[in-house]
């Protein structure tokens, strides 16, 4: 039960990476801290539970990374993917502050491992959590408990009392009982609104009904809504998000990493009408996988099918669901409920346009189609060797970018650009400050870690400096 008689120094709303970084930091600063996690203990940790690694600045190679990654390179990478839609000062601040993140995490019980497989492209830039994000969250929760952070599960913050931009209390529902929690400062780290389908529909229209949500079902955006309604300044757009194409058979929520389908560059991808719609081989996969969620979202009924033949089996990460398999294209079309004639025509046209046979999956090879629209510019090989395989794809939303604007103290900015004195935000709920669009692997955790720690520290100082 939540102790409502007490006025906490710092209230943390959320139970993912950003929330725990804030809670641990605030507690280490000497503040009394209450953390509210909507999920039960078994499902705690939000999207952070599904993560694998963290991007951070470092001056040299270490036990876990193969070489240096300096501020300027990090910034260039970020500014390229966001096409300038980022707050440069804030982003550079985050990049600099990320430098001691690995040591901080180690000191708080997190363990890392050298990247072992499948992730060569990240071996220099991203540190991999031993055991993944749930192990990371377990470590942070254990540390927080040990330090004396009070943790309440099943506890959903439903509303905030804010007067003249100042937070006074939060309304909380826990197992059906409502109560009011008072604190001198609040850190809102409750994620985006990706699991709120009706909100997604406002941004995307009916197609959102067919979106799958890769992470937690608890990120309903309730706190984001409350803050925006009470005058916080928004950043980014409601339809900006990280979205990939995942297996259509994945669960509606929480399918996590295993639902990925990495065969696209070796496949042809067709829509419901058995027509191709985009260059599957445009660039190396790590640079392209994150556009396919949006591409599939734009197709009729938000469904697509990646088709490969026997030659391409084994070139990509194994999938959790078996592909549909057939000895002929017609049979495959029937299994996928596509028009067999249309599929045969599409594949025939594709096969005719395939020219080079210098196929090389490890580089941008020269196997491009000729006179085909849309073209396939690399790894184009005829689909001619049975058995044929088909993977159904749907848009899988990772997280949304619409958020609240913050300053370099992690304080939430109100409509007039004035910071709230005691409302702080960290993680997905303010990711839009850094990511107006686009994504680079591992930056979700950078944002949550750096701004989580910052928010925790600032909130603790505020609360302790007689802020009441």
């Amino acid at each position: 039960m939540i102790d409502t008689s007490h006025i906490y120094d710092v209230l943390i709303i959320g139970g993912g990476n950003a929330a725990l970084c804030a809670a641990i930091t605030a507690r280490r600063e000497g503040a009394t801290v209450l953390l509210l996690e909507h999920a039960p203990r078994t499902l705690r940790g939000g999207n952070s539970r599904h993560t694998r690694n963290l991007r951070y600045t470092h001056k040299q190679a270490n036990d876990f990374l193969t070489g240096p990654y300096l501020e300027e390179e990090f910034w260039q990478d970020l500014s390229r993917v966001t096409a300038g839609k980022t707050d440069e000062a804030l982003a550079r601040y985050m990049i600099r502050e990320s430098e001691d993140m690995l040591d901080w995490a180690l000191n708080n019980g997190v363990r890392f491992q050298p990247p072992l497989s499948g992730t060569l492209s990240l071996a220099r830039t991203n540190a991999f959590f031993l055991g993944g994000g749930k192990a990371l969250m377990n470590a942070y929760y254990a540390t927080a408990e040990q330090l004396g952070v009070e943790i309440e599960y099943h506890a959903q913050a439903t509303d905030l009392r804010i007067q003249d931009a100042r937070f006074t209390s939060a309304m909380v529902t826990q197992r059906g009982d409502a109560c009011e929690v008072r604190a001198n400062a609040v850190v809102v780290a409750s994620g985006g609104f990706e699991s709120n389908v009706s909100w997604l529909k406002q941004a995307w229209g009916d197609p959102a009904e067919n979106f799958l949500i890769r992470g937690t079902s608890y990120n309903q955006g309730r706190m984001l809504r409350v803050l925006l309604d009470q005058g916080a300044k928004p950043v980014s757009e409601p339809d900006q998000c990280h979205a990939v194409a995942i297996d259509a058979r994945a669960p509606r929520f929480d399918g996590g990493i295993v639902t990925r389908v990495d065969c696209v560059p070796f496949s042809i991808v067709v829509n419901k009408a058995a027509q191709r719609f985009y260059d599957e081989g445009e660039d190396i996969w790590p640079k392209r996988y994150a556009i396919w969620g949006r591409l599939v979202a734009q197709q009729p009924d938000q469904i697509a099918y990646a088709l490969i033949d026997a030659k391409s089996q084994g070139l990509f990460m194994p999938t959790v669901f078996s592909p549909l398999q057939a000895d002929s294209l017609r049979e495959l079309a029937e299994k996928l409920k596509l028009d067999p004639d249309a599929l045969e025509n599409t594949v025939a046209a594709f096969n005719r346009s395939v020219k080079s046979d210098n196929f090389d999956p490890s580089v941008l090879d020269e196997c491009a189609t000729e006179d085909l629209d849309p073209p396939k510019t690399h790894w184009a090989r005829a689909l001619d060797t049975p058995p044929f395989y088909g993977y159904p794809l749907r848009p899988g939303i990772t997280f949304t970018y619409l958020g609240v604007a913050v300053n370099a103290h992690a304080q939430v900015l109100m409509g007039n650009d004035e910071p709230s004195p005691n409302i702080y935000a960290a993680g997905e709920i303010m990711a839009g400050n850094i990511l107006g669009q686009g994504y680079i692997a591992g930056i979700g955790m950078t944002i949550g870690s750096v701004f989580g720690r910052l928010a925790g520290q600032e909130a603790a100082h505020h609360a302790q400096n007689g802020a009441a």
Binding site: R52, L116, L120, G132, G133, D262, Y289, P318, A441
Partner: protein
């Protein structure tokens, strides 16, 4: 081997793990899994025996219950391991001992010990049994040397035969060839992995046993038990040499090799098995396999009893209690020998065989990079 529900479940989970791979840093199971695209039964059995049951992958798993994927790898692999003990047991009719192994091992222990005690009591004159004996040959006044050696050697040789047959069949099925056992690099690798219990280190912080907290205790207790056991084997071997080679009769002085090795070993076993049993009592039921637990407990208890009675015999060997203690200890040792091939003890061989296979695989196939999306 028929496709049991257990094998199906193991395959289902391996598929999920192979698409996920987040646990790759914990133990050998994941790197071995990642070299595979599909999971035929023999491979699943190999992976199950490679698993040391550290449970790290359970607490780290985002798909553990209540997630609908319902992934419980330690439990599933433990159940499959136990099933494989039965499948490889020799002779076949005795394989059923693994069905309710806790009960079977407990019964063997009680029956054999009682039988030996009764026989001693019936055969031996009470005056001799309850008298104090000392000096060389004191034990044999209670029980003639031949009476001790013939049944125990007989049972022991049978156990050895049964264990060897199981081990060789397992090696054959996992695809390890005899000549590969002669490869020093492979064997060195497997032996050091086994000697250090490398895969109970969970990538550094230890295993998640008995609960979510990381701990090195289970490994240290297991070391106590394992090295204690080996020291006791050494003590017995030296004693055998003394007896037949040098003609010295037991009991040996406190400062002799058999007694020192046996005492240190016995204490190791006592602490190790006691510690493991104590941890088991607190262990989180979620990743636990019930059938394996009965088997584990029974064998730990039998081993504990062996070392306890041995140490008691040592302490009380110059008192009138020696006769009875000797009978009890001898009974327990016989029970242990008899139970070996049909108890948790068999894991030593299969685990080692799996480590050999793993050592080979790691050398043969360099880590292959597949294309994957980022995070």
């Amino acid at each position: 081997m028929p496709k049991t529900a257990l094998l199906k479940e193991s395959e289902r989970i391996m598929r999920i793990c192979n698409a996920c791979r987040y646990c790759e840093g914990y133990c050998g199971v994941f790197p071995a899994m990642m070299q595979r695209k599909s999971f035929p039964d023999v491979d699943l059995v190999y992976l199950a025996n490679l698993c040391h049951g550290c449970r790290a992958c359970h607490y780290a798993c985002q798909y553990a219950p209540p997630h609908e994927f319902d992934v419980n790898l330690p439990q599933t692999l433990a159940a499959l391991r136990t099933q494989s003990y039965r499948d490889y047991a020799w002779p076949k009719p005795l394989a059923r001992a693994f069905d309710r192994n806790g009960l079977v091992v407990a019964l063997i222990s009680v029956l054999v010990t009682t039988l030996v005690m009764l026989l001693t009591y019936v055969v031996q004159d009470a005056g001799v049994l309850f008298a104090t004996h000392s000096g060389a040959g004191a034990f044999y006044q209670i029980m003639p040397h031949r009476v001790m050696v013939i049944p125990s050697a007989g049972i022991f040789l049978f156990a050895l035969l049964a264990l060897t047959i199981g081990f060789t069949r397992f090696l054959r099925d996992t695809g390890v060839r005899v000549h590969q056992l002669l490869n020093p690099r492979t064997m060195w690798r497997a032996a050091t992995d086994a000697a250090q219990l490398k895969f109970l280190t969970g990538g550094g912080d230890g295993c998640n046993y008995p609960n979510e907290r990381f701990s090195h205790l289970p490994r240290w207790y297991h070391h106590g038990m394992m090295y204690g056991f080996l020291l006791c084997v050494a003590a017995t071997s030296v004693a055998t040499f003394y007896h037949y080679g040098l003609g010295w009769e037991a009991p040996y002085p406190f400062a002799s090799w058999p007694v020192v090795l046996g005492t240190v070993g016995g204490i190791g076993i006592l602490v190790g098995t006691g510690g493991l049993l104590w941890l088991k009592m607190q262990s989180d039921p979620e990743p636990r396999d019930r059938q394996s637990t009965g088997m584990d407990v029974a064998f730990l208890a039998l081993l504990l009893l062996t070392s306890l009675t041995g140490l008691l015999l040592l302490v009380a060997r110059e008192t009138p209690a020696m006769g009875v203690l000797l009978a009890i200890h001898f009974g327990v040792v016989l029970a242990l020998f008899l139970a070996l091939p049909y108890s948790k003890f068999v894991h030593a061989g299969y685990r080692f065989a799996a480590l050999i296979k793993y050592a080979r695989e790691r050398r043969a196939v360099p880590g292959k990079i597949e294309l994957s999306s980022d995070y």
